[in-house]
């Protein structure tokens, strides 16, 4: 089943892979905290797409829907907390620059 599925859905696979790559690139190469969060979001959405794809291929649409909804909720919570932390950092450093955050090392 899987090899045929891959044959049929390979564009989706490529797309998901590209999203993941872009997401990682975002996180790794930006100096702006918010952009890092955006990159994170991209990653999370890419994985959501993958779950949807998997559900579609295996024909378990109900389970997949439950999974995806739950996942989006959790993702929202995580993001909220992350943005809260960024706000806190901004209030200390007065900037969103990653390069100003080099206080802990070693």
């Amino acid at each position: 089943m899987i090899p045929q599925a891959i044959q049929a859905f390979w564009p989706f696979g490529i797309f998901i892979f590209m999203l993941i790559v872009i997401g990682f690139y975002c996180i790794l190469t930006t100096f702006n905290l918010i952009r890092a969060l955006i990159g994170l979001e991209l990653l999370l959405k890419a994985v959501t797409l993958l779950i949807v794809l998997a559900g579609y291929i295996t024909n378990h649409s109900a389970l997949t829907q439950a999974l995806v909804i739950t996942f989006i909720v959790v993702e929202v919570v995580v993001m909220t907390v992350a943005v809260g932390v960024v706000l806190g950092i901004r209030s200390h450093n007065n900037s969103l620059d990653l390069r100003k955050m080099k206080n802990i090392k070693g």
Partner: protein, 612 residues
């Protein structure tokens, strides 16, 4: 029940020694009285046991390791001799030890030594004998070490030398037991084949080292200056010779069949002759009374070894006779040295002189004993030496000549000693010297008279003591009592003695005093370098051994430092370097951490999927 009496000579001195330890310091006379009493008791027991023939055998550890004691003519003879000497020395020590703080220990160790010697002599099982033999190591060490601050080094040297040879003897005992399948001495009788010779040699090493022959001798001169004098008179002079030669005789006569032509016999004779000559040459140049006497003790052992090594009846008889004679006159000589030390305060020959007039009795005893040791007829030394010459001549002319040469030097050396100490002008410090007190004189006189007795009436010791030991089979019909049969030898001896006298007179005139009498030998061309080196102890095997040990311990120390460096320096430095490297890598930027994670993940995935 009768055989349990054999425990008496072993246990009684031990118990009395313990009693001496317990007596409080205040009752000093009590200590001395107890010591004398103990020695007297020992003598009594020895006389009672004399010529007895009792065997006591107790099962001990099984498998041939039983604790057996055997009283027969040889061992009873040694016990009697030990007891006699013990009594005389104890009597002598009363006066000598007066005022010395180690007196109590000395008496106790003396008695313990007597007990151990009795045990070693009585023992019929090699293991039991080893036990007593080793015990003597401790008492020797203790008795030397109590002599003073420098005595400890001498005591250690004695302990190490005798200890090492005792180890050889242990190996020999093990090998003998293995070869003979039993450890009972009276049952062992082994031929001198390859392994047998090895066992023989190992056992011999133990025996002759105890007796004090070369090359195990170097502790004796050092001990002589440091240890208390009665110790010297008792142990190295008497007991150790008795014990060592006793064992040597038993090894050669009973346990192994020492044949006259065997290599072992030649080896023994060579050891004997070398000991005689080298020791007496060293004795010749000594300037201290006691050291001189100790070198002579070493030298005379050579005669005993030579005698027994000849393996012919004359030689054996001579060796054994010499053993008892030597014990007699050497202890006598040491006793005179003690008297001189006590009265004149020193034994340095440069300081003594002219004591003959002040201490006449001592002087006469000295003359008698010195004449005995030199082999002057009709004293006992003459007869035993003649027998040894006889045996040596039977085995080879060279041995005979060398033995006679030894006699020459012995005589020369004693002439020098007597002259330096007793004749000549007395120096100012010696003005007030008086004769020694009676308890010291008495043993000397007794010994001197025994010298005369054993000399003139030599059938007594020979027929009564020595010849029964050798046994009628070996004697082959010889009877050595009476005047030596070979008149040729007697004449040669007399000539040699006269030559020695002439040599001494010449030397004394040339040197100007008694001490310098031997100086012309000292300064002779080859001999002087040898003498210098010997005085620097280059030839001393103990010092050589110490040097070798020193090299080894240096190497071991270096290795240890190396291992230490590895642990102390290398490992922590390595840890420190890697630790700092890791810390540098943690720069604080999460993107770097993320990159590591992704890289790690990539590697993991590749690893997991590459085999699929």
């Amino acid at each position: 029940m009768m055989d349990k009496i054999l425990f008496l000579p072993i246990l009684m001195p031990l118990v009395l020694a313990a009693a001496i330890f317990v007596i409080p310091e205040k009752l000093r006379r009590a200590k001395e009285a107890m010591a004398v009493f103990a020695a007297l008791m020992n003598l009594a027991v020895a006389i009672v046991l004399f010529k007895g023939n009792i065997i006591l055998s107790l099962p001990w550890l099984g498998k041939g390791l039983e604790f057996s004691l055997r009283l027969y003519n040889f061992s009873s003879f040694i016990i009697a001799a030990t007891a006699g000497f013990g009594f005389l020395i104890t009597l002598y020590s009363i006066m000598f030890m007066r005022g010395k703080e180690y007196a109590r220990q000395f008496y106790a160790y003396l008695l313990i030594s007597i007990s151990l010697v009795n045990g070693a002599v009585l023992a019929d099982n090699l293991l039991a004998m080893l036990f007593f033999w080793e015990g003597l190591l401790l008492t020797v060490f203790a008795m030397i070490a109590i002599g003073g601050q420098f005595a400890f080094k001498a005591a250690t040297k004695a302990l190490i030398i005798v200890g090492i040879t005792d180890l050889c003897m242990m190996a020999g005992i093990a090998l003998t037991g293995h070869l003979a399948h039993t450890l009972t001495i009276s049952k062992i009788s082994l031929p001198l084949d390859a392994l047998g010779s090895v066992a023989f040699v190992l056992l011999i090493i133990g025996a002759i080292s105890k007796a004090g022959s070369m090359p195990f001798h170097s502790w004796i001169p050092d001990a002589s200056t440091e240890a208390p004098l009665p110790f010297m008179a008792f142990l190295p002079a008497a007991l150790e010779k008795l014990l060592g030669i006793y064992l040597l005789a038993r090894i050669c006569l009973d346990m192994f069949k020492l044949a006259p032509d065997s290599g072992m016999s030649i080896m023994l004779m060579v050891i004997g002759v070398v000991t005689i000559l080298l020791a007496v040459m060293m004795a010749l140049i000594q300037k201290d009374y006691k050291r001189l006497l100790s070198y002579h003790a070493i030298s005379q052992v050579g005669y005993m070894i030579l005698g027994i090594g000849t393996a012919v009846p004359a030689g054996i008889a001579g060796g054994l006779f010499h053993m008892i004679n030597h014990a007699i006159y050497k202890s006598g000589l040491f006793l005179t040295a003690g008297a001189v030390e006590k009265q004149a305060g020193s034994t340095d020959l440069n300081k003594l002189g002219g004591l003959g007039r002040k201490m006449p009795v001592t002087f006469i005893c000295f003359i008698i004993c010195a004449a005995s040791i030199s082999g002057v007829p009709p004293f006992n030394g003459f007869f035993s030496k003649e027998l040894v010459y006889d045996g040596a001549l039977e085995r080879g002319n060279l041995f005979y000549i060398l033995a006679v040469l030894g006699s020459f030097f012995t005589a020369a050396s004693f002439l020098k000693l007597g002259h330096a100490a007793f004749l000549g002008k007395s120096s100012r410090e010696n003005e007030k010297v008086k004769e020694a007190p009676l308890p010291m004189l008495l043993p000397m006189v007794v010994i001197a008279s025994v010298c005369i007795l054993f000399g003139v009436y030599n059938a007594l010791p020979l027929n009564g003591l020595i010849q029964p030991i050798i046994g009628t089979i070996r004697l082959n019909g010889h009877n050595f009592a009476g005047f030596p049969p070979n008149t040729m030898l007697v004449i040669i001896t007399l000539v040699v003695l006269a030559a020695a006298l002439l040599n001494h007179l010449f030397g004394a005139k040339a040197g100007g005093s008694g001490i310098k009498a031997a100086d012309h030998i000292y300064h002779a061309p080859v001999l002087s370098t040898i003498y210098e080196k010997a005085e620097k102890r280059i030839f001393d095997p103990y010092n050589i051994g110490l040097k070798v040990v020193g090299i080894f311990s240096k190497i071991a120390w270096r290795l240890d430092r190396g291992v230490d460096w590895l642990y102390d320096t290398a490992a922590p430095k390595l840890a420190g370097i890697s630790s700092r490297a890791i810390l540098k890598l943690h720069s604080g930027s999460y993107s770097k951490y993320l990159v590591w994670s992704l890289l790690g993940m990539l590697i993991v995935i590749i690893f997991l999927t590459h085999s699929v």
